[in-house]
Symmetry: C2
Subunit: 217 residues, 2 copies
């Protein structure tokens, strides 16, 4: 696996090219922090974008295939998709309205997504979905049955054509605006977990597991 994939014509970041990154370390870090991806596909020439859970395993990402169920019905081979993962890190308040921005990190992966057929590979993908969200949960919950595995539709997209784009740091204002008496800076954003809510049907004698009570991302 190459540590850095040279960008293709389709993945090279053209606008604000200094914000582009193509190394596996940066790309994997963003993919592993995110858990919802937006999957784009076209039906009769019209684009659709559907959010779904995903996980990276090695140099591929897996996502729930039911999102593309209307396509899967018609295509047995691969489906052209774009999978995008976005993390929002902060609001950037500049001195001018024009230079207001966001700090963010995103990954765009293009390619042909294929339906996962082998039960062991489906199991591996489900394991990755669960463990990336809550490490330790897989072994506590009831494992998937053969019937459930059959009912699970998962797609695999190899990370062959992929790039990252991000914005970090303070606002960048026009030189002439720095004298303006306007507060400027960043309001950081973080996705934070709240106190766990026990299912009313969950016996109070069952202790709250540490991974839930002290959930950290």
């Amino acid at each position: 696996m190459p540590e850095t994939t040279p960008p293709t014509e389709r993945t090279r970041v053209v606008r604000e090219s200094h914000r582009g990154a193509y190394d596996r370390e940066t790309i994997y870090k963003i993919l592993d922090e995110g858990f919802v991806c937006h999957v784009g596909f076209a039906v009769d020439g019209h684009p659709y974008v559907i959010p779904t859970l995903f996980a990276r395993v090695g140099d591929a990402i897996y996502f729930h295939g039911s999102v593309a169920s209307r396509m899967l019905r018609n295509l047995s081979g691969g489906i052209p998709v774009c999978v995008t993962v976005t993390l929002t890190d902060g609001f950037v308040l500049a001195r001018s309205v024009f230079n207001h921005s966001m700090n963010y990190r995103s990954v765009v992966a293009l390619g042909q997504a294929a339906l996962v057929e082998a039960p062991e590979e489906k199991l591996e993908a489900l394991h990755a979905f669960t463990e990336k969200i809550i490490a330790g949960r897989w072994n506590d919950a009831r494992q998937p049955s053969e019937k459930e595995l059959k009912a699970t539709s998962i797609l695999r997209l190899p990370l062959t054509e992929v790039s990252a784009k991000m914005r970090v740091g303070p606002p960048e204002d026009d030189e002439a605006d720095y004298v303006l008496p306007v507060w400027a800076g960043v309001i950081p954003l973080a996705l934070t977990p709240g106190a766990p809510i026990r299912d009313e049907k969950c016996d109070a004698a069952i202790p709250t597991p540490a991974y839930t009570a002290h959930y950290k991302r």
Copy 2:
């Protein structure tokens, strides 16, 4: 404006149809809480999905058009797009791996996005972008110049074909699994602002505005 738009063949929620909603109140609430949308469009038959800031104004959404710049070069009319907004509300921990899920709210809007030409409409869209993120900021920051407005590329998508989909509440397990001694419930998620970071180039004598120091979403 209709309070509820009947779903079309393309927007009707087919999978888990009880999670679909088509009333303007629900759709607007999700759109107004979100600030990043994922815009899908196709180039030479291949889908692309790009994250960008957006705002709703009346019964349309506006988003930065530079994301579709490669299309705009070729098309002067409308561009077929899908704009999706997703809010992640919590991880749903079921007794079985299979029934693990997410609580979320999402909106999918389909249609033809058109380039905004009138400077007044561009200004209205920029105002909405700024004020939806930080109410009060517009009047504090330097207003856009004529040159900046010209350099701003904004697209408008009327909300004619749109639906919401959401999952709320506790896990839903198979009847037989409720006896399992497995903790079940929800870990809520919220996007929370941190303490504002003043730009190093911002004069310490400039007070931190209330909308920044006590930022709430």
